[in-house]
């Protein structure tokens, strides 16, 4: 997949809570609402709102199901979500590297 810098995507993922959600989902196939709430520390309302934004962007897929008799909401990254997360980390790494190089140049000169 061809990736390029997308300011909208960067803005969407740069928000700490959404980055945490995406990081959690990037480390597994899917996680449920309860786990995401523990991982992010968000209230149900806030988490739902962040998930809606990520779903609108096509980054996450939300599946409602039953485990036994209990309702369970599973959330997983879409392919576009995985690619956007990878791209986000790559951009941050590049920025970090450039910052290091600049510091080294300043120290030399």
């Amino acid at each position: 997949m061809e990736l390029r810098f997308d300011p909208e995507s960067t803005r969407l993922l740069h928000e700490p809570a959404r980055l945490m959600i995406m990081t959690v989902l990037g480390a597994c196939q899917s996680a449920d609402f309860v786990f995401l709430q523990r991982a992010t520390g968000l209230t149900k309302g806030n988490l739902s709102s962040h998930l809606s934004r990520l779903e609108e962007a096509g980054y996450v897929q939300i599946t409602k199901q039953f485990i036994g008799k209990l309702p369970n909401t599973q959330i997983g990254l879409t392919e576009a979500g995985r690619a956007a997360l990878e791209q986000h980390w790559k951009q941050l790494d590049d920025l970090r590297r450039q910052g290091d190089q600049l510091r080294q140049q300043q120290a030399k000169g």
Binding site: P16, T23, V24, A27, C28, Q29, F35, L36, A39, L42
Partner: protein, 200 residues
């Protein structure tokens, strides 16, 4: 806390969630301790029946406790699906545990001057910690404690006591590491107060 560090911790727990559910290990630790006690010279001649009944009760309790613990984690911490990682690690465990048990049986039979199982199980404990995300140093302490058992036969500890001692240390280690894994999990994924003030 540094956000990168927090992200890395949560990523690690998510990737290996089922291996951080420490309370599932605690009953197994107690079972090993009881087994160590039953195999010790203290129980020699006390009648096999009592030992077998006690072991049966302990095994049943362990199985029951594991089911309860799994249910607790599902309801309090949620569900993470990670089939590829779990399959890979479980395959290693299925392969390694019988080999480690076989080595233990050989140690008991051959009565070597060095207790080889101590060293090998130490390596296994260290590898387990590394393979399940790292960051839990108590597993390295268990590895160290198991490795320190290796030279004990040279210091005059009898083979009868060696096996009991090993199972006791391993069981105590599993129970302690399980508790500490749980505390670490709770530190990284603390309970959340919801909109209405109730804790999750």
């Amino acid at each position: 806390m540094n956000q990168d560090r927090r992200l890395e911790e949560v990523r690690r727990v998510t990737a290996f969630f089922s291996y951080w559910q420490g309370l599932r290990l605690v009953p197994l630790g107690f079972m090993l301790m009881v087994e160590g006690l039953l195999l010790s010279p203290l129980f020699e001649g006390k009648g096999l029946g009592v030992g077998v009944i006690l072991l049966g009760v302990v095994v049943a309790t362990v199985l029951f406790s594991c089911v309860i613990a799994a249910g607790y984690y599902r309801s309090a911490y949620g569900v993470v699906r990670n089939p590829a990682t779990n399959r890979r690690l479980d395959a290693w465990l299925v392969l390694f545990i019988p080999l480690l048990a076989l080595l233990l049986a050989l140690d008991a039979r051959l009565e070597l001057p060095v207790f080889i199982s101590g060293l090998v199980w130490a390596g296994a404990a260290w590898l387990y910690e590394r393979a399940t995300g790292g960051g839990r140093r108590h597993w390295r302490l268990l590895a160290l404690a198991l490795a320190l058992l290796a030279p004990l036969p040279l210091l005059g500890v009898s083979p009868d006591w060696m096996m009991s001692l090993f199972l006791g240390v391993l069981g105590l280690g599993y129970a302690a590491c399980g508790m500490l894994d749980h505390l670490e999990l709770t530190r990284i994924l603390p309970p959340v107060k919801d909109d209405d003030g109730t804790a999750l």
